[in-house]
């Protein structure tokens, strides 16, 4: 691996990482999965600023830091502490910079992580800023794809569900565009992928197709990326009733799919993947979440200049 410059860098948006940098993070994650480094970050402190609850992401970052020998300062229940007192992102980040070597922030407002990065001289990792960005989710999605398929290039990936509002889907689509994929978008018309993403793909010569049924594509794909369809997204409740069962994946669907086909999901799932899918060799969503620890370890190690 040629060393790429990550030391001191903020990770706010996946668009700021180019293809080589993404691959570099994934290679480091794979190395850490293979060979744990329990003292790599000894003496380093991570400040975990969660202005909204997200147990999975918060624990995953904490686990990543601790598995490398570092410590975590957490604001356990931010709702009742700084945010309720009206402390701004800017001030919270300025404060955290005094106590920690690296800051992880999650906040409901879009752009909050950028504000924290501008406030703090210490590097900041965005762990989700509203509907905007969650770059480590995209990295762990890509890591999971690479791990299960052995490569990122030239895969047929279908994304299913709420493609209009799904942050994970948008970031994954843009990130995958650098790896010559074939993309299929499966969604009800009201939750179709926004045009700007299709324009982005067209400009890059990436083939894609749009569908309304999982059955249209499932036998052809290498990766089936499922997302949740939320009732609140529908103006007309009847419209929701009409589509809700169309996007539930069950064991039935898996007849005749490719052997290597894996099902991913950013979690938490509600009912879009039936439990009988869990025991099949295609289910990968729980391991996918576990992979988050490796990519976060890689990022922490790289940004703190220890990898």
């Amino acid at each position: 691996m040629t060393k790429l410059a990550f030391k001191g860098r903020d990770i706010i948006s996946i668009d700021e990482l180019n293809r080589h940098e993404i691959e570099y993070v994934l290679e480091n994650a794979a190395a850490l999965e293979k060979t744990p480094r329990p003292t790599l970050l000894t003496g380093h402190i991570l400040a975990s600023l969660f202005f909204e609850p997200s147990t999975r992401t918060q624990l995953s970052f904490a686990s990543a830091m601790m598995r490398l020998g570092g410590s975590v300062l957490g604001v356990a229940n931010s709702e009742s502490s700084s945010r309720a007192k009206g402390e701004t992102v800017y001030d919270t980040a300025k404060m955290a910079e005094q106590y920690a070597d690296i800051i992880v922030i999650r906040h409901p407002h879009q752009g909050a992580a950028r504000v924290a990065a501008e406030a703090s001289a210490k590097p900041v990792i965005n762990a989700g800023d509203g509907a905007n960005q969650h770059p480590t989710q995209t990295l762990l999605d890509l890591y999971s794809i690479k791990k299960t398929q052995g490569k990122l290039e030239k895969l047929h990936v279908a994304v299913v569900g709420d493609l209009k509002y799904g942050r994970a889907v948008h970031s994954l689509t843009t990130a995958l565009a650098d790896f010559s994929p074939h993309l299929s978008f499966v969604a009800p018309k009201v939750l179709a992928i926004p045009k700007k993403y299709l324009t982005y793909l067209t400009e890059r010569g990436i083939p894609y197709s749009e569908h309304e049924q999982i059955e249209d594509v499932i036998k052809d794909v290498d990766v089936l990326y499922m997302t949740r369809i939320q009732k609140e997204r529908f103006g007309d409740p009847l419209e929701y009733e009409r589509v809700k069962n169309v996007y539930v994946l069950s064991r039935e669907h898996l007849r005749g799919v490719k052997r290597n086909m894996k099902i991913l999901h950013p979690l938490p799932r509600v009912s879009e993947i039936a439990c009988d899918v869990d025991e099949t060799s295609h289910a990968y969503y729980f391991q996918q979440a576990g992979n988050g620890v490796f990519v976060r370890q890689a990022l922490l190690g790289l940004i703190l200049g220890k990898l």
Binding site: H109, Q110, R114, V115, G130, Q133
Partner: protein
């Protein structure tokens, strides 16, 4: 410099090639009525380039770069003529800058700039055969000019 149909000024700034009927917006935007400077507004002059145009003359004032950027958002094709002692000292073709700081308000209600006192910042995005669009540095949404209002 071409002779204008309104009298020449001794010192100050002439904003030329303002789209017709937009001159008043520049006067309001730059709060020119709040000051003592003599301001002349010419509306609907004929123009080879634009068909019809407005001209705003402000005596004894040169614009700050922030003011120029505000003019650019109203009149992206405008020309600034800086006059010193009746002579054209400098002619500047206005350009929308690459970064617009504290000029535009982000229309996205979930954007952090609408919840905390963060200075707004937009990047000019050049589209193919399209007019400029503007990207909020914070929420990363892209807007067309008509969606954006001033801070």
């Amino acid at each position: 410099m071409k002779a204008f149909k309104v009298y020449a000024i001794k010192n100050g700034t002439v904003i030329d090639h303002v789209p017709a009927r937009k001159g008043i917006q520049i006067i309001e935007r730059l709060k020119l009525l709040d000051h003592e400077n003599i301001v002349t507004l010419g509306i609907g002059f004929s123009s080879k380039r634009m068909g019809s145009k407005d001209v705003v003359k402000i005596e004894d004032k040169e614009l700050t770069s922030n003011e120029v950027n505000q003019v650019a958002m109203i009149a992206p094709e405008a020309t600034l003529n800086i006059i010193r002692n009746y002579k054209l000292k400098k002619k500047i073709k206005i350009r929308i800058p690459k970064v617009l700081k504290s000029i535009l308000r982000c229309p996205n209600p979930s954007c952090v700039t609408n919840h905390e006192s963060v200075e707004s910042r937009f990047l000019r995005v050049n589209g193919k055969d399209r007019p400029y669009t503007f990207k909020c540095v914070y929420c990363q949404h892209v807007f067309i000019r008509s969606e954006l209002s001033f801070v």
